[in-house]
């Protein structure tokens, strides 16, 4: 039944507080309403991720129903994959917990530890098989300049990780501010088969941090797909599972 469901995620990578355009926390709240989870990875070294920045990172993820991590640049690649996988599993776990509560009056954490592993195994398997649509939203404000090589490496690593999943995946990449000074630009959209690493090599870092508009753009990209999708879905005997995935 999970084969028909597409997990939708935004993965935001930033090293500072937003300072241009709409409120990113509100943008994340809106994304969540459309069934899109927002994960945030904050990078600490060298940047200006002060306590306001940290709080914003946490607030965006919380509003977007995702997870947030604050890490050093060298941990970026591992962390990006961890939060992506974690959120896919959390989404499934929430549905499973709902059913468990109806069946046994408890969620998975309330089961005895030995029994819990069977549930965990199932969730793990489903998470690997579910289709995933991911928009990676990268902060390319001036302070990110030195970190862009690390981000490139992390994107390459993310792709390696996504390639071994059983489920299908599509990934798009946005930068904010955009490469021509606009709020946000699309480096690669879902359909593009081009070499991500080559595209990333062309990135330049400068300007402010319009985090809110970037999340809004990512949300639009993911929700367009949401509107188009029902047309090519015929075998829907299990009911609309997409309705569960909120």
């Amino acid at each position: 039944m999970w084969k028909n469901v597409t997990m939708k995620q935004i993965l935001l990578i930033t090293d500072g507080c937003s300072n241009r355009g709409s409120n990113p926390v509100e943008a994340a709240t809106f994304a969540r309403k459309l069934g899109i989870a927002v994960n945030v990875v904050g990078i600490v070294d060298g940047g200006d991720l002060n306590s306001a920045g940290r709080q914003e990172v946490q607030a965006i993820a919380e509003a977007g129903g995702g997870v947030s991590r604050i890490v050093e640049a060298r941990q970026l690649a591992m962390t990006m994959q961890m939060v992506t996988k974690h959120t896919v599993q959390m989404t499934i776990q929430q549905v499973v917990n709902k059913e468990l509560r109806q069946l046994m009056g408890t969620d998975a954490d309330g089961l005895p530890p030995e029994k819990r592993s069977d549930v965990a195994e199932m969730v793990d398997k489903l998470g690997d098989e579910a289709a995933l649509q991911l928009v990676v939203v990268i902060d390319t404000s001036a302070s990110m300049h030195d970190k862009l090589p690390t981000v490139r490496e992390a994107i390459r690593d993310l792709k390696i990780g996504l390639d071994v999943r059983k489920g299908q995946h599509q990934a798009a990449i946005l930068t904010f501010p955009g490469q021509q000074g606009e709020d946000v630009s699309v480096v690669a959209d879902f359909t593009q088969q081009a070499n991500l690493v080559d595209l990333m090599n062309a990135l330049r870092a400068n300007g402010g941090t319009p985090t809110g508009p970037a999340i809004e753009k990512a949300t639009r990209m993911l929700s367009q797909q949401l509107i188009e999708r029902p047309a090519n879905r015929e075998d829907d005997g299990d009911g609309d599972m997409a309705a569960y995935v909120v």
Partner: protein
């Protein structure tokens, strides 16, 4: 539902603290931290006079899945020492909220680099051969070890017996490897996928060999990034790899993709190591004999001198 886990957060437990499992009510005293990683922390604990290792995490699924795999290995390979012995699985209330843990055998030993420093580099093939045996058994169960690296191996200093200690990367064949480390990860080097299969562990084992033979290579790679052809060139021209070239060429041209073929390539190296060890042993013996005579001689002189004092 957002879980907030800053990387600088306090550890789960403090030394000296006593914790009680919520379900099984077993009590453990925290004796110190053994290590920490992305998915949890490992502590040395004691309960009823016995020492154990305890792995704790905020993620229930990670802990219960790892426990299940280790339990399964213990059941199948009874009497063997592939994985640590497994005991309790429980939940615990901590200052960071509810956490999940399992208790296992506390495996003690020396780091591989320290051991080789003391006993000589000729032990490298012997250690790798032992790891081959473990991997073969694990693969037979349908699992890949995944995060094979020097830090996840401990060796008994007297007997030279290796044990694997962190099973967090163990992944069912056909899935994406759960945990890995760049230097040992073939995908990072651009030499294949991160798919959990036998050849993934074989590549990691070959990188462990490089790490043990030429530890400084890894440092230079940290600066220039993964460049496998450069690494190959370094191996071909480095005299320390003289006897290893057959093995590495096998890994490079795809002849060595199974543990069995790797073991075969290791066997002449192991034979040579045994010869070297024999020579060292016999030299030590000779030296000991000579010092023994010296000791005995000086004792005799002392006794004579003492007797002279008594007589006069």
């Amino acid at each position: 539902m957002a879980t907030w886990q800053p990387t600088w957060s306090d550890p789960f437990f403090q030394k000296g603290q006593v914790i009680t499992g919520l379900w099984n009510k077993k009590r453990y005293r925290i004796d110190g931290m053994l290590g920490s990683g992305a998915n949890g922390e490992v502590y040395r604990v004691s309960s009823e006079g016995q020492s154990y290792a305890l792995k704790v995490s905020a993620q229930a699924p990670e802990i219960s899945l790892e426990h299940k795999i280790l339990k399964q290995l213990q059941g199948v390979a009874r009497g063997s020492d592939l994985g640590p012995l497994i005991f309790d699985l429980d939940d615990v209330q901590t200052q960071r909220g509810k956490a999940f843990f399992y208790v296992m055998e506390w495996v003690q030993g020396t780091d591989l680099p320290d051991f080789l420093q003391k006993r000589g580099p000729h032990w490298t093939p012997v250690l790798l051969l032992q790891l081959c045996t473990y991997l073969e058994r694990l693969h037979k169960q349908g699992y890949c070890f995944g995060d094979l690296k020097a830090e996840n191996c401990l060796v008994n200093e007297d007997r030279g017996v290796v044990r694997l200690v962190d099973f967090g990367g163990v992944t069912e064949f056909g899935r994406g490897v759960k945990e890995y480390t760049e230097w040992y990860d073939r995908a990072w080097w651009g030499q294949g996928s991160r798919l959990s299969e036998e050849s993934y562990d074989v590549f990691a084992l070959s990188m462990l060999a490089v790490q043990l033979i030429a530890p400084e290579a890894r440092k230079s790679v940290q600066q220039i990034g993964p460049n496998y052809s450069l690494l190959k060139k370094a191996i071909v021209s480095d005299p320390r790899f003289e006897n290893w070239r057959g093995l590495f060429k096998g890994v490079w041209d795809g002849r060595i993709r199974t543990v069995a073929s790797l073991r075969e390539a290791l066997s002449p190296l192991v034979k040579r190591s045994v010869e070297i060890e024999k020579k060292i042993k016999s030299k030590q013996k000779r030296r000991r004999d000579w010092t023994d005579w010296l000791l005995l001689g000086s004792a005799a002189v002392l006794v004579l001198v003492f007797c002279q004092f008594l007589l006069f």
